[in-house]
Amino acid sequence: MKENKETRAPESQKGHTIEKPKSSEGIGSMVSIEINGNKYSVPLGTTILEACKQNQIHIPTLCHHDDLCIAGVCRVCLVEVEGMRTLQASCAYPITHSLKIHTTSPQVRRARRHVIDLLLSEHYGECYACVRNNNCELQSLAKEYGVDQFTFGHVSAPLFEEDKSSYSVVRDMNKCVLCKRCVRTCIDLQEVGVLESIYRGHETRIGTFLDKPLADVICINCGQCINRCPTGALKANDPSDEIWLAIDDPTKHVVIQTAPSPRAAIGEEFDLGPGHSLTGQMNTALRRIGFDKVFDTNFTADLTIMEEGTELIIRLYKALVEGDKQIALPQFTSCSPGWVKYIEHFYPEYLDHVSSAKSPQQMFGALIKTWYSKKEGIDPANIVSVALMPCAAKKYECNRPEMVDSGYKDVDYGLTTRELAQMIKESGIYLPEMGKSHFDDPFGDASGAGLIFGATGGVMEAALRTIIELVTGVKVENVFENMNIVPVRGFEGIRYAELPIEKVGPVPEILKPLVPNWDWLKGATLKVAIAHGTANAKKIMEDIKAGGKFSECHFIEFMACPGGCLGGGGQPIPTSQEIRAKRAEAIYNEDASLPLRKSHENKHVLELYNDFLTDGPCGHISHKLLHTHYTPRGKYIA
């Protein structure tokens, strides 16, 4: 399945999507071409770049990105097409008739070298003082083309001030090569629309509305632009220096919670290739680095399911049984801070649909500085709470002023997968060689339901595993083979599923204060939907606004990032549909291998309700610590 790539393309790509014939069968659908003297046959409409890739002919690229529509602006992928006066950008040239192509002729090589020389002449920064050292596409190009001097000079001083205003994304336009990938990501892939080219000619640069700092515009902090930036022009706001200080301070108790997605991707930072889960190894490494405790965010993911699931049941009960017209349905998930900021800006009138349950990160934060600190007898003032996240927006989330329900800043730092990999390397550790170890108590190892939060559809699947069992009393594995709720899985941009509730069971103990019985759900059909990437979220929101089929849903999962958290803005670079699929596979495989795979069966969670959140899910205590409110922000930029 392919991610939804339907686009509202920004200026330079509009009308430039290349239409391919529906099938490659039949007469006239294949074209024979010649590349570097060898004959090939490719489907009509294939670009020269794709044709070369399919045939293992390497062509360097810069502005091209598989997730994004065509730009054809960097001019690195030039090739010679016989009979044409000028060289052609292979990424943008669809093959519609027989062509003779040369990919490394002298003038091609010279032109590419010139383009690289020109880019370098305006690229300020030294490679060894850059986050993208060794993972920079400009650097690789320079190496590939044997650049050993700055033919056309080199800027000697920065022209632009770094924009560090945002908690999440740092922009350094001195390193920008104007490939416009971030523009295409922001406007087209995410439809947030913060970044565009501004000014003209040599003055052209990537800017925000009125060239304001990122913190002052409607950036949702998803960080997708970072993932697609070929250089160090975009990076996450890195807190590792502060974290090191805390670790080195003996008076501080430094704990880290780790989200499900980083463990499925961090191997990529150690040249493992996508699709390796390094949960146990990472736990060991974190302790080696000096974290005092290592917790699993999946624990609060399980807790989220209890809280958010209960909230849904309450909403449904009030709406369906009590006939309360004020109840907002469908309920929207709230775990993705990028999505939360998106809806605060773009659809503030729908904020009452968003579950008031905090995200797992923030639930954990609130528990660590209350329950945990009490239990362990540690002064919360001395606890430094770090969250390892695949996400750039989590950095913003933990800095939201309302996130202080423990009486302290609930989570002190959001750390990305990339940044942790850096800390691990700095500690002299080669992660894949680490021994495996478990998470620390009192939170212990969590369920597979919490783990799959990392993939798009995961929150929905986790919620369904619990809701189905609690409502029907039937084991999920008897309804869905291996507990895999396949209808909500996959990478389709928007997914929709219906689950008829044929019979109901007894109300479980924990929910008895809330509903007398399930009879009102008997014969009902639970309608759910999933969207990942805010462009897809927008489609659902517009449909709801228009009273379409999604307005009849009961529960909708929204994730700001394509692929869900595993494709988050803090994950290893590069990213592609293929890489994201591999990460998802790793997550689902790990889930399948776990003994515990349902949130409501997590005994540590149940203990927490017995011990601390004594008035149950959505009770008073939980409301104070685990729930939050949102801010209607709107789109107007003052």
Binding site: E11, R75, A89, R110, A111, L118, L178, K180, R200, T204
Partner: protein
């Protein structure tokens, strides 16, 4: 402001009455319009010289519910002003040409993209269109021909030379930055709003009006074999009679200089800033697609002019007017300009200047659109043709 044409030749300024071409077109039918156009061997007058009949046939053949005829009146090339004169003095030729275009390709909408600098003519052009509507030369069932609907609107540019490039122009019409598109697909298939579109120069439409009225073979009698008809030249610079001249293709530079009464001429820039600069020894070259193809800008420089200064002015123009999307043009032009400044200050090495010339060659073949592909022309041709003056004579001829 004066708009008098300095020399009226036998083609563009031959007799013409408003509506002639439209009447004729309706009487001979769509196919024959295209046939006459093919006979005429007319090539686009905007500079690139693409055969107009081919462009129109492709647009006519493209299947679509909507098509557009666009008149490129962005005339931004330094040294070009013939479109200004045509629009102000001979709007009937241009608009009739567009109506014929609509008829031939099956478009109902015509758009004139008028450069913002020419806003002062907007009112009179709109009034003229209104008159045409009254005469049923625009509107529904034009001249009684059932189903032949066509109307023209005028849209203003806003001060961007690159919007004269046809795909940048289309982007601009769609409300975007004037950034050229990738080709293919070409506008004849995927143009304005994704629909088949023909973009032609003002003078091209004016020529069409005559061709359709008087026949393709009449037109091709004029000029040379490959460059048929005549051309409007915008002559400026060091001559006694600058202005617009209609001359047959094939005229040599020397002949032209005589006509415009230029003395002591040292250099002629043919084709505007993005054209070539030639020196005395080449003044016997002919204007025409066989040799010096051009959109018609002729800038004359006499012995007193400093060619390095001229070059610098051109390069400054390109640095500002590049759309800035592609690397070779955005940064390349700056490097070339810096090179010129180095020479100016005497702080250059021949090694580096040669590197820049190589860069210019690369820009010609690697830039995304015609702007970056032609902006190195003055750099390469002036440094080559005037190297004596520039490198051996210090500051040039002054």
């Amino acid at each position: 402001m004066e708009n008098k044409v300095k020399r009226e030749g036998a083609v563009i300024f031959s007799e013409y009455n408003r509506g002639d071409a439209v009447k004729k077109a309706i009487s001979i039918g769509r196919e024959d319009v295209l046939f006459e156009l093919k006979e005429s061997k007319l090539r686009g007058r905007g500079g690139a010289g693409f055969p107009t009949s081919t462009k129109w046939m492709l647009t006519a053949a493209a299947k679509s519910d909507k098509k557009y005829v666009i008149c490129n009146a962005d005339e931004g090339e330094p040294g070009t002003f013939k479109d200004r004169v045509l629009l102000l003095e001979y709007p009937e030729l241009v608009f009739d040409g567009m109506v014929v275009g609509g008829y031939a390709i099956g478009a109902k909408e015509g758009i004139v993209y008028l450069r913002g600098e020419y806003e002062y003519m907007l009112k009179s052009l709109q009034d003229y269109l209104e008159e045409m509507r009254k005469d049923n030369l625009l509107g529904k069932d034009i001249l009684g021909k059932k189903g032949f609907d066509f109307d023209i609107i005028i849209r203003l540019g806003s001060g961007a030379y690159v919007c004269g490039e046809e795909t940048a122009l289309i982007e601009s019409l769609e409300g975007h930055r004037g950034e050229a598109r990738n080709r293919p697909p070409f506008p004849v298939n995927t143009g304005l709003n994704g629909k088949p579109t023909t973009v032609n120069n003002v003078e091209t439409f004016a020529s069409v009006a005559h061709i359709v009225t008087k026949g393709g073979s009449w037109y091709s009698q004029h000029g040379t074999d490959k460059s048929t008809g005549s051309k409007l030249f915008s002559v400026s610079g060091d001559c006694k009679k600058p202005g617009v001249y209609e001359l047959p293709w094939g005229t040599t530079i020397n002949e032209l200089l005589k006509i415009v009464e230029a003395d002591n001429t040292k250099a002629v820039q043919v084709g505007g800033a993005s054209g070539l600069c030639i020196s005395k020894s080449q003044f016997d070259r002919q204007l025409g697609y066989e040799d010096l193809g051009t959109g018609g800008s002729i800038m004359v420089f006499n012995e007193s002019r400093n060619m390095l200064h001229v070059l610098k002015n051109f390069m400054e123009f390109f640095v500002e007017e590049s759309c800035g999307q592609c690397t070779p043009c955005r940064i390349g032009n700056v490097k070339l300009l810096e090179g010129v400044e180095m020479i100016e200050k005497g702080e250059y090495t021949f090694n580096y200047i040669n590197k820049l010339k190589e860069l210019g060659e690369t820009m010609r073949i690697s830039s995304k659109c015609g702007l970056g592909q032609s902006s190195p022309n003055p750099f390469i041709s002036i440094l080559e043709n005037f190297k004596e003056e520039i490198f051996n004579n210090g500051k040039g001829g002054k």
